[in-house]
Symmetry: D2
Subunit: 480 residues, 4 copies
């Protein structure tokens, strides 16, 4: 998988490459006396890798909530002027990618609602699995919706549970929704964080003086100078207001089921998530790969940037020298013009350029984070061979992806998953490698030691911790 900044056109060849996409990142802050809009801006910037298609911030000054959101990167959506008019002491923000081809502002978050008890803003990372059911229920009581977004439906559900105690309303709503969700809620004077009972999507809590921060990843805490306190617990509701932080374990899942793909690919390397340092875990994946797949080779190279840590681990474990054999161009922007077929036929190489003098005549282990459809992997192998590589061993730090994800990651339907359709030997032949090795699921989980049962591995095993939509027991829901 070739990661990165709005690629799509990596390798200069295929706009529909094998890139996995997280649905969202969330950030919230309760900070009397601080410029919370601006800190949220920087917090979202640290989470930009979790979604590059829209960005939004909602700010409360204790009386009303103001909202700004638009399509684009954080730095594109907000200007100095826009941040300056954004007064308040608590805020939430959101970055997302859109699964639809056309940009659609209707799906940008946060959502802000007028309710009988005041205004309410919501930002959501994850995906509900019983959304159709809830929507039907709400329809039956007369609701209509401006979008098909989970988030709009969640707020309507909370509003139905109309008690004066909003934590109770949230609890009742949590009893009804199923799936993966890390949610931030903002009303005029409270910031609330909610994590689903399995803890599928990440959410952590930090502090900076008497200000508190909730964020998808700890790197966002670092960026705004906040100190990491702890992860929000699965099933926990965290309420932050003038009296400080109150945590409440509303639900207890049958087990923890943190998304293991956060460690493989999504999370930023400098984040610490549910007790594990992402960069270290990735290094260990490479080491484990090397142990599982002892091979004679001259160099180990990563697919930049997502394969770097694992490749380094592989090199350290195997003793095979680490080299940078592929140079990545970092300037591809959202409006970059993709090459036409005739240009591609010329061999135009936009995203990755192989360094011939590193590669020529070598036996190479190339380490990537995953193989989804296999097309990109095939192009990488071809590129290496054209640069004189004699033997190519392709290693991925994830096990074979054989099942779709219903919890917020855009993993395709089964028929697009090459590991679902073909045995290992055929995949190796398809991508043209001399050797191919996936990290074993056992090997992957052993890295986490005693915590090894605390992860969702459904995309590798089909073992879904939370019930998935009936209609999609066989194939994945087409979102939106």
């Amino acid at each position: 998988m070739v990661d990165g900044y709005n690629s799509g056109y990596g390798l200069g060849e295929d706009p529909e490459e094998d890139q996995l996409r997280e649905e969202c990142g969330v950030f919230g802050i309760y900070g009397p006396g601080l410029d919370v809009a601006r800190l949220t801006y920087y917090g979202l910037y640290a989470l930009q890798h979790r979604g590059q298609e829209s960005a939004g911030i909602a700010v409360s000054d204790g009386k009303k909530i103001q909202l700004q959101k638009n399509m684009g990167l954080v730095s594109e959506v907000f200007s100095e002027e826009k941040l300056t008019i954004f007064q308040g002491h608590l805020a939430i923000g959101h970055v997302r990618y859109s699964t639809t081809a056309t940009n659609n502002l209707l799906y940008a978050q946060p959502f802000v609602f007028h309710s009988p008890k005041g205004m309410l803003a919501l930002a959501h990372n994850g995906n509900l699995t019983n959304i159709d059911e809830i929507r039907s229920f709400l329809y039956s009581t007369g609701s209509v919706f401006q979008s098909t977004s989970d988030s709009e439906i969640i707020v309507n559900l909370i509003a139905r549970h109309n008690q004066n105690n909003s934590v109770e309303a949230i609890k009742e709503s949590m009893a009804e929704i199923k799936g993966a969700y890390s949610i931030l809620l903002l009303n005029e004077n409270k910031l609330i964080g909610i994590r689903d009972p399995y803890g599928i999507r990440p959410l952590c809590l930090g502090r900076r003086g008497n200000a508190y921060v909730l964020a998808s990843e700890s790197c966002a805490l670092d960026t705004v100078g906040a100190e990491f306190i702890r992860d929000v617990e699965p099933g926990e509701i965290v309420v932050i207001d003038e009296s400080g932080v109150t945590g409440c374990k509303a639900f207890q899942g049958s087990r923890k089921a943190h998304c293991v793909f956060e460690y493989i690919y999504f999370a930023r390397a400098d984040s610490i998530m549910d007790g594990f340092k992402v960069n270290q875990i990735r290094r260990e994946m490479g080491r484990q790969l090397a142990r599982e797949y002892p091979v004679m080779a001259d160099i180990v190279i990563p697919v930049p940037d997502s394969g770097i840590a694992a490749a380094r681990g592989f090199a350290a474990e195997s003793g095979i020298p680490f080299e940078e054999g592929l140079m990545k161009n970092r300037y591809i922007g959202r409006t970059f013009i993709k090459p036409s077929q005739s240009i591609r036929d010329l061999g135009v190489r936009l995203k990755l350029n192989p360094i011939r003098d590193v590669l020529d005549g070598k036996r190479v282990v190339i380490v990537d984070d995953s193989i989804i459809r296999g097309t990109t992997s095939g192009k990488l192998v071809k590129m290496l061979r054209e640069s004189g590589v004699k033997v190519v061993h392709f290693c991925t730090s994830s096990p074979p992806v054989i099942k779709p994800c219903y919890y917020g990651i855009d993993i395709s339907t089964e028929k697009e998953l090459i590991a679902c359709r073909k045995p290992l030997k055929e995949i190796r032949e398809y991508i043209g490698a001399d050797g191919l090795h996936y990290l074993s699921l056992e090997g992957l989980l052993e890295i986490f030691g005693e915590a090894k049962d605390n992860f969702c591995t459904a995309c590798f095993s089909g073992d879904y911790p939370v019930e998935i939509p009936q209609a999609h027991a066989q194939d994945k829901q087409i979102l939106e």
Copy 2:
């Protein structure tokens, strides 16, 4: 020095950080039957690291020259629609940065001129040192200028040398101009490349079928699928037209004087320049650093991205493990809002995030490419200490920069150069490191073996290969 994509706000602290800037990148193609505008677009994209403030392309269809240019990245300036209307079979393109605070389209290149012999486009990388003299001469003959750009003046000069044989006009002009220049000229049916007699700025020639390409760096050839043929010689004029390529050594400098800073910092790691592989040279710089500065340390870390290759070389030579101790956020865009002082005081860290578990308690060698003003280095050291680093050895793969550059790199006036103002010990104290080592000039040059006298090292030695402006013998010209 913290490199990268439109930084200015690296470390989340100082908009005026120590970033060196190259003035330009050029790309030209003569390709009957090819979509030359689009190939130039991709070529410029590969050279985007040489200038991010404006981009332009001029295309000829044999009858007239069309021009498009604007402020911004290549991907921002050109749209599918704009490229589509750009018909022709030869083209030149240019990327530049602007030294002025305000964007100024008047300085974007290429320049296109109407002359008695037809239209003429010019793209220029470098800086002339006798521009005042030439301007005065042209003024005396009645010329006026719309900008103070070297490039506008060069075209006027060529136009004065009004013979029918344009190569003769170019030769006569070359006899008059002094300084660093790699120039591409385009008229209706010829593409011409010119390199100054000392070969200060790079320029190379490639071929793809019967098409020819000229570019600042070989990575642009790779990107468009062209094969590297050779560097343009110092003092050479290369003419490409329907009869093929004709080279003509117009001038012979007293020696070659390739800018050594291209290898230290500017060039893309996958380029090959005047016979040397940039990535390999950088690795050797690190090795040489390790030999010159044997030190007890636990880890070697780079300042990403520019220090990575040298840090790796240092690690390999010293046996000290290489680690990534600083995580770089890759999403800073041009419109990114810089943090105010009050936000900075909060410890907001936008560009680099130290990975505490890698750093805590360690003795660290940190490798950067250079130290210019010293402010950024000081911040880096402070950041490392706050992450628990016990001992910091700061190494740079360039010797101390003590003189300004008059040949096209934005190296400040002497009073801003910390190495010009302070002895080593004081610099070390200023940046707060426990150890500080600059690569020695001898050590740097030895890497190039027999070619070691072929480089310009003026910024380290004050030994300027080409006469510098009189008025500026003591301080640097304020450009533009």
Copy 3:
């Protein structure tokens, strides 16, 4: 009142001038085989005078509804590309102005909703008077809202009336809402028009072949080449689908109460509305003014453009020659920079320039449509005097405006209405005129002959045909 294209800065002096604003214009078309998106675009363009702050179109292809809306003029919101992707055979569109200082896309219409019965789009012109009551009811049943727009609330109300027969649901909703409304509804295969029981806001029906059109004004029918059939009746629901047009008189108000200010100011002069030709009515207003206010004068001049027809009528009736004494600059755009006080002090005149040779030494009757706050009228008189006018008679084709409007026109609170606060003589002195005459209410109504009781004259008489909000019995609701 100085009318016109997003002025605000008329006369070059006061950004808060006396300009009345209509809330909206609506346009709908059911046209199998036609490019309905494009026809709606042109229809909205003909209604642009009814709202210049946002524009939107919703199109159905029988299966789904697509929506596009944004802040700005119709020509700014839609591009060729955007219209082209808009396939379908029925559509509704909306133009509006925003009463809030900041642009707010949340209030742009149409609104589109997902309901259990499919998608539903709504466009609304008017203002409900019992919106708080309805909102409270909906809140009590668990609804939340993304805006405080009437329109969002109306759709929720209709959705509560959850029968299979949607006309019944609309009827039940109409039984609950009070106020002025001309509403267009679009579902996947029906276009529905609704007019409030008093017919306060206009709505008319046209045909072009087998296509049907609903629009706020007949000028929009003309623009798309449709033939005027009839006005929609007060209290009528018109349903257009594949079986043609079905009208149904759902409610009967105690009387008709068409907004008379449409004739005075809002409607385009070439529209025909509830049986009266707007241009002709305006001419008659001028004639009646002349009869009511016989005066010795040299010339009659209009305040362009809104006073032209009445001034012409005045001239014809009185025999005093009509002249154009004030020249209007037609280029003021939305982003036009308003003059600062210091610039205004220089006498900068941006919107209207008096033609001295027409005015100098003359006794002038100046005819405007209305006086709201009186500030603009005062500036006009001052401008005339500075151009040498000896005697100024100020005439308005509306009676004194003494009460706010609750039915969709932005007429200020009583304390801002000069005619509410001052007797005629003081108003005359305030604006500095030698004579001042308002058209009498009787004189105004007589123009309509037998239909004279069919109009809402609340802003002149305080005789509100529909109950107004309790809280605002004394002062006007602050909208949004």
Copy 4:
């Protein structure tokens, strides 16, 4: 001719309608202590009718000249922020239309040049007739040009005349250039106005306190609160600096030759130009038309807006009532989407809507300013007939246009001029009118009384006051 705000799509039918275009408007101010950038902005806004495609302002603070220009209306090109940073006490501005299909910033004015004597800005209204000759001369001395603009060439010419006394340089340049030109020059501390020896294009001088203003039309003086002093004389150079205004009659043409089309169409109605009030002259044209063409008719209607004054004159003289039979939509913007042929076939009427009740059954005199190609006139007649008009008399306040203009108005080549190709009877048949009358040239000139020989009537008579380009003695130069 249908005038107006960036139409092109008037009548909803033909994007290539008969609209004449002036090339430019200029405005300059010398105003110590005033916000000259802002006043120039407002001055240009008053001249916006003279060019809507680009706008620019150059400001001097006594030391340097700053420039801002771009494509678009004045209100689009300049923002509050841009004006604020524009400090100085003298300025010039320019509005222009571009004759090329594609926008081209290279032709936007003012031009700013660096010369040996400092910076120099130039804004030009008009067209030179010996530009090829001058360009050849300048080429022969080694000049090259970035555009084919007259203005760039004029500055180069002035720069060749390199004396210390710049008025002398201007005089020498004026001796060499031929054609129509009203030029404003700005150097660091002087504002200079130049008018060609025949006074073809307008230029006038005003004062406000101790500030002086030069402008294409007096309406711009009014707008900025300046008092009209006098027109700049043909062949005069006016120098404004700290010592006040100095006029110098540099050249004396054999006669005055003011463009008569300024009075017929271009100038704003409230301007006074070379001693004549534009609005009054237009009224007189209508009166003269009525005298020349006595006709039985029920109403006189104008083609709005350009035919209004003449139609009113016709009505006054003939006694036939004036009516507004065509309603103009004032909202067409630059990005307005033109109707496709299939939409046009539906009878979509975007720009003008006939008011049937005014027209039906009537004998109508319709008054327009001119007929160029005849296509628009034909559509107008058709539109009237479809509205029930029984008899159409088409009158134009200009004589037949039979020759192109070489002096700055975009009058097409002879083959496009219907009056050049067809006799009156055939034109009448072509446009479908029952009667057709052009104002006679004699009748037109008589309006000016004793000054009747002071006008350029070349487009009606072929009597060119200034030598026209040889190559184009037969057909018109394709500009740019």
